[in-house]
């Protein structure tokens, strides 16, 4: 990075650190923080969408659909989320390969599951046998996104369902009195108002989602935890930058990063809550009205 970094062993303290913290592996470490942000940015809207679908399913009048929604929400709730994070990527990966196998190689006569092996024909491999590394990375990453969306979709479904119930009943009755159908009343009355009731719950879920992102490490992705372990471990004098066991400092950096992330989003949600409370029939909305008058 810097011109003076040619021989780090002779450098004074601050220059040594300047060189050490700008090695290519450290840039990979910094980039992994961006990956956390990216995961959050992609997962949150998908999970919210899943949550909306789940909440609608729970509300549905069609019994099997309603049971499906309730089953989804309660099973995800009763099981540690880590089980889903580990289960979904591998199960989904095998499922995709199984389907591909039946499409691509219909005349394959051997069983797919042989003992502890899962064998599909060469054409059915996803990602392909010759796929470059970045395709594999993106594939693994999107599997993680699916797993996260599934778990947090169930959490969001529960909150959104509660929020739909919380919209004052009189308002829905007024909509009915105007001759709106159930769907119209939902679109015009419940949907615009439910967010203010859902927001405290959604902000909690967002915080849980932030705190679940380090679990990416378990899926084999090179995320911040991976690099903190790699870089922080003891380096002997064989390395260019020898140092003792510094993992505790690297994890301290990670802790601070997450503290900042949760602190910042808490403030963001407080602002959003104030904005959404405008003109709502809640205590906070009433307070805003009186302050303005």
């Amino acid at each position: 990075m810097f011109a003076f970094c040619a021989d780090p062993s002779t450098l004074p303290q601050w220059q040594w650190f300047a060189c050490y913290l700008t090695t290519p592996t450290h840039f990979a470490f910094y980039r992994s923080f961006l990956m956390v942000m990216l995961l959050l940015a992609i997962t949150a809207p998908i999970a919210l969408g899943m949550g909306l679908l789940g909440a609608l399913a729970v509300r549905a009048r069609f019994l099997p659909l309603s049971l499906l929604g309730k089953g989804y929400v309660n099973v995800v709730r009763g099981v540690p989320d880590i089980v889903f994070f580990m289960f979904v990527p591998i199960a989904l990966g095998q499922g995709i390969e199984w389907v591909m196998h039946h499409i691509q190689c219909p005349d394959w006569d051997q069983p797919i599951r042989q003992g502890s092996d899962f064998i599909v024909c060469r054409e059915a491999k996803v990602p392909g046998v010759n796929a470059p590394a970045w395709v594999r990375d993106i594939y693994a990453f999107s599997m993680a996104v699916v797993a996260f969306a599934l778990v947090f979709g169930a959490f969001a479904a529960n909150t959104l369902h509660g929020a739909m119930q919380a919209v004052p009943r009189a308002q829905v009755e007024t909509a009915e009195a105007y001759g709106m159908t159930r769907a119209q009343a939902f679109r015009r009355v419940i949907m615009p108002q439910m967010w203010v009731y859902a927001l405290p719950g959604l902000s909690n879920i967002w915080q849980i989602l932030i705190k679940a992102t380090p679990l990416l490490f378990l899926l084999g992705l090179q995320d911040a935890v991976y690099w903190a372990r790699e870089l922080g471990g003891q380096k002997t004098s064989l390395y260019t930058y020898p140092h003792p066991d510094w993992r505790v400092w690297y994890f301290l950096v990670l802790l601070c990063f997450y503290l900042f992330l949760t602190w910042a989003s808490e403030r963001g949600f407080a602002r959003l809550n104030a904005r959404l409370s405008h003109g709502q029939a809640t205590a906070a909305g009433e307070k805003l009205r009186k302050a303005a008058a």
Binding site: R77, V83, L254
Partner: protein
């Protein structure tokens, strides 16, 4: 192939270590369905151990931290708030890594603390085991979350209750013990049940992160993961561990429901808040 009885005898206590049953875990093609049922079940003892002890110690610490955070004295309030902020704002997974790498740095021989007349040696090697070090992290974590719940409950105790206590001339510890504490518990109990469930689920992270599973003695999810690695079939072990955890969750709801009934025993039956399987995701 082992029979189911042999699997039961070999693995039901295996989570205690290699002296309690088969020395080696089943491998590859040798794995039977019964092996998976009993080995994963034997791992559950550690989930229960971590959850029960963390909830027990965490409860008392949380009450203390909540009262400190609610206090008017800055000397108590600020450290308590900082503690709650630090442990609620960061992921438990990273906390495990952080504390493990900190515990590893402690001298192996123990730390000598001179007390003038004598010197006590604090054993530090046990801190790098999951059974103690991991438990400490879990206790600190659940203390922070529960303290926030209790703090929220302290703020919402009805004013009339406190005024009634004042009118009876109660002060200090008597007022706390007879009025503040029971009201706080009653208000916080549904959310606290939720916290207990979340904590129990978090015990699956202990062996996944930094803390090593010595002699392959781990908790339920550790074994489930081991089986999936061995058989490359996620459709048996993971649903199995999920089923066990649903049972554990229902057991927690049952136990906390009994406590809830006891806390609300003076209220008319309709006004008692029931604990439902509809938690607020407060973590």
């Amino acid at each position: 192939m082992r029979t189911c009885t042999e699997s039961f005898e070999g693995y039901i206590l295996r989570a205690l270590g290699r002296d309690w049953g088969e020395r080696l875990l089943p491998r590859g093609l040798d794995i039977t369905f019964c092996d998976q049922i009993f080995l994963v079940a034997s791992g559950l003892m550690w989930n229960v151990y971590f959850a029960a002890l963390a909830i027990f110690f965490g409860f008392f610490l949380a009450v203390a931290v909540a009262v400190a955070k609610f206090s008017d004295r800055a000397l108590l309030r600020i450290p308590a708030s900082a503690f709650v902020f630090a442990f609620r704002g960061s992921p438990l997974f990273i906390q495990f890594f952080f504390f493990y790498s900190a515990f590893v740095l402690l001298p192996r021989a123990g730390i000598d603390i001179p007390l003038g007349f004598t010197t006590i040696t604090v054993q530090t090697s046990a801190l790098t085991t999951a059974q103690l070090g991991g438990l400490i992290v879990l206790i600190l974590n659940t203390t922070a979350y529960s303290a926030e719940l209790f703090y929220g409950a302290l703020r919402t105790i009805p004013k009339g209750d406190l005024e009634a206590a004042d009118a009876y001339g109660m002060t200090g510890l008597t007022k706390f013990r007879r009025v503040v504490f029971p009201s706080m518990l009653r208000l916080a109990w549904p959310s606290y049940t939720n916290e207990a469930i979340f904590l129990t689920h978090s015990t699956t992270l202990v062996f996944l992160s930094a803390f090593p599973a010595r002699q392959q003695a781990g908790e339920a999810f550790y074994y489930a993961r081991y089986f999936v690695d061995q058989t490359f079939n996620p459709f048996v072990a993971y649903p199995l561990v999920a089923g066990y955890f649903i049972l554990l969750t229902l057991a927690i709801i049952g136990v906390f429901g009994i406590a809830n009934r006891y806390l609300n025993r003076h209220l008319p039956r309709e006004r008692r808040a029931r604990i439902r399987f509809r938690p607020q995701y407060l973590r």
